[in-house]
């Protein structure tokens, strides 16, 4: 136990780590936005009449929920490269997390869709709404209201998952930056402590932001 703490050099690296936090947040937000779009599609597909569409959606959901996120990122990076789709590490990380998010969210949305009574859709159709308009104006708002809380959870998940990018060589996100500083200076303890606190702060800010949005949109 003769380790002397040197917090000052660690704090001097704070701007770099904050920049890393922004990248982490950026990846998480992007993966959520794309993931939500895909998840709505998948959730609708699970209820479709075509067995092909149902099969594709079910496969996506099963694979995304039953294999590790780390493994999915590996596939996006190493596996896709083999068949000629070369993603750089940032995109591979984004693709992996988006795939994972879409699978988990699709399952949540499927439950949320059931919370919207079919009779409302029929009522909307009889009032002259087209199928798309009925879905967009009647079903979607209620769906998002029902699944808002699990969606926030998934967002925090996405933030935590971005740390896995370090295995495919993402060096700009918070874990990547921390790891690089660590390799350069060997002040492991200090850097990882700061990184942990930063992750905590990002997650907290996101949760608070989500609560604010929920209050603004749904008044609860």
């Amino acid at each position: 136990m003769n380790y002397t703490f040197h917090w000052r050099p660690a704090f001097r690296a704070l701007p770099e780590m904050l920049a890393g936090s922004l990248v982490t947040l950026q990846i998480a937000v992007l993966s959520m936005v794309i993931g939500i779009a895909i998840a709505v599609l998948l959730a609708v597909m699970t209820g479709s009449k075509s067995s092909w569409l149902r099969g594709i959606a079910a496969t996506w959901i099963e694979v995304a929920r039953n294999t590790p996120a780390l493994f999915q990122i590996y596939i996006a990076y190493f596996g896709l490269g083999q068949i000629g789709i070369h993603l750089d590490s940032y995109l591979a990380l984004l693709a992996g997390i988006t795939f994972n998010n879409a699978g988990y969210l699709a399952e949540t949305f499927r439950g949320g869709l059931r919370a919207v009574p079919q009779t409302q859709v029929r009522a909307a159709r009889s009032l002259g709404f087209g199928p798309v308009a009925a879905f967009r104006l009647i079903v979607l708002p209620q769906l998002f209201r029902a699944v808002f809380h699990p969606m926030t959870n998934q967002m925090v998940w996405a933030i935590l998952m971005t740390s896995l990018g370090v295995v495919v060589g993402v060096s700009t996100d918070l874990t990547g930056v921390t790891q690089e500083l660590n390799v350069r200076t060997f002040r492991t303890f200090e850097y990882f402590a700061i990184a942990a606190v930063l992750y905590y702060l990002i997650a907290k800010v996101v949760t608070l932001g989500a609560r604010l949005i929920a209050w603004r949109l749904f008044r609860y």
Binding site: Q82, I159, L160, A193, A196
Partner: protein, 224 residues
């Protein structure tokens, strides 16, 4: 797209991969029960403890659920040696998983404790049950019923979380898949087989959990 699949290469390594899957399951099992023990104390402290204990447990839970498990294990594996605590990879990963799942399981079990209704306990007392009987016949079945679904889905989630061990050199399923694919470059075949193994073990685990739930706790658990 001139890729020729060679499934034989992947299937040749199946026993090696399955051994890795076994290690994943063991890690998840130990991590789960270690975490469940911490979670039990945490939940009891949060529900029945005083203000101070509540605060301490809450700090632990909030901190460990809001930072990545990867960073926690990094910390154990790379930072602790600097203060003289040298952990082998397997132990570091296991401790990391236990601490991480302990935080989640505290919250899950707390929900179970809260769900026990005071009136049920009072009714049991009126009927003349002893404390042991109340715990055995009223509290435990109730908690088991409410907690079964979240606990089993957390277990599945933990099985997937063990893949992080591969980063620290523990050769579980993901680690072994990477090992093979870097020697023979049949990445797609190896990864597809690995994905199927993961799906198989998680479905198997949920089936076993559903059976246990059905016969031990009379939970109407669906396997699929």
């Amino acid at each position: 797209m001139t890729y020729t699949f060679q499934w034989g290469e992947a299937l040749k390594h199946l026993p090696y991969l399955l051994e890795g899957a076994w290690l994943s399951l063991i890690l998840a099992f130990l991590g789960f029960w270690g975490g469940a023990l911490i979670g039990l104390f945490g939940a009891v402290g949060k529900v029945y403890g005083g203000r101070l204990i509540y605060r301490i447990v809450d700090l632990y839970v909030v901190f460990f659920t809001n930072t990545p498990a990867l960073v926690q294990i990094f910390f154990l594996f790379y930072a602790l040696p600097e203060v003289g605590i040298l952990l082998p990879p397997f132990t570091a990963v296991l401790i990391g998983l236990i601490l991480n799942s302990g935080a989640y399981l505290t919250e899950i079990q707390r929900a179970g404790f809260i769900s026990v209704r005071q009136t049920e306990i009072e009714a049991a007392e009126v009927l003349g049950m002893s404390l042991a009987q109340i715990v055995r016949y009223v509290i435990v079945p109730h908690i088991a019923k409410t907690l079964f679904a979240p606990l089993s889905s957390f277990y599945i989630w933990l099985v997937l979380g063990t893949s992080m061990a591969s980063i620290f050199g523990v050769e579980e399923l993901t680690g072994r898949a990477i090992n093979i694919s870097t020697t023979n470059f049949r990445t797609i075949e190896i990864f597809s087989v690995t994905a199927l193994i993961y799906i198989a073990i998680t479905i198997l685990a949920s089936a076993v959990l559903a059976l246990i739930g059905r016969y031990a706790f009379r939970v109407r658990a669906k396997i699929f």
